[in-house]
Symmetry: C2
Subunit: 81 residues, 2 copies
C-alpha cells in the first residue's frame, strides 16, 4: 500500500476567477495583505501496490488522462512510504 | 513578501462524494489499484509582509474565518521564505 498526494494547479498564464473571488472576500473582511491567491486541487490517494516505480508511472497516467486538464492545468505528485 | 500554501481537506469522518466519483472514474478507465481517494483544496497566497510570526497568525485567522469550513474540514498551512 502506497500513499500519494497529487496537486493540480491552474497554469500561471490562465485566469483563476475563483481565486480572485476568494482574494476579494479576504480583502473585504480585512485581510488586505493578500496580494494574490490561486486555488488548485489537492488529492490524497491510497494505491494497492508496493512497487514505487510502477506507482509513479501509473500516477502520471492518471494525471494525464483524468485528474488534470493539461491544457490549462499543471500537476505534480508525491509518493509517501 | 511571503508565500504561503494552504491545504483544506475534508475530515476523515465526513463523506467525500467528489472523491468517490473520481475514484469510480479512475476504476472505469483501468486504474483499479486506487483504494481510496479524497479531494481537498490547495491555495497559494502571496502576503505583503515580511513578519513570519504575524503572517502565521493572520493565515490561521483566514482559515478559521473564510478559507475552511471547520465543521467538516481540516486545514494546514506552510510559509515559504
Amino acid at each position: 500500500m502506497l500513499k500519494a498526494k497529487v496537486y493540480v494547479t491552474i497554469k500561471q498564464s490562465v485566469l483563476d476567477p475563483q481565486g480572485v473571488a476568494v482574494q476579494g472576500a479576504l480583502h473585504s473582511v480585512g485581510f488586505r495583505e493578500v496580494e494574490s491567491l490561486r486555488i488548485g486541487k489537492y488529492m490524497e490517494l491510497e494505491l494497492d501496490t508496493d512497487n514505487r516505480q510502477e506507482a509513479e508511472e501509473r500516477l502520471q497516467q492518471m494525471c494525464e488522462k483524468l485528474l488534470a486538464n493539461t491544457v490549462v492545468e499543471d500537476y505534480r505528485y508525491e509518493l509517501e512510504g
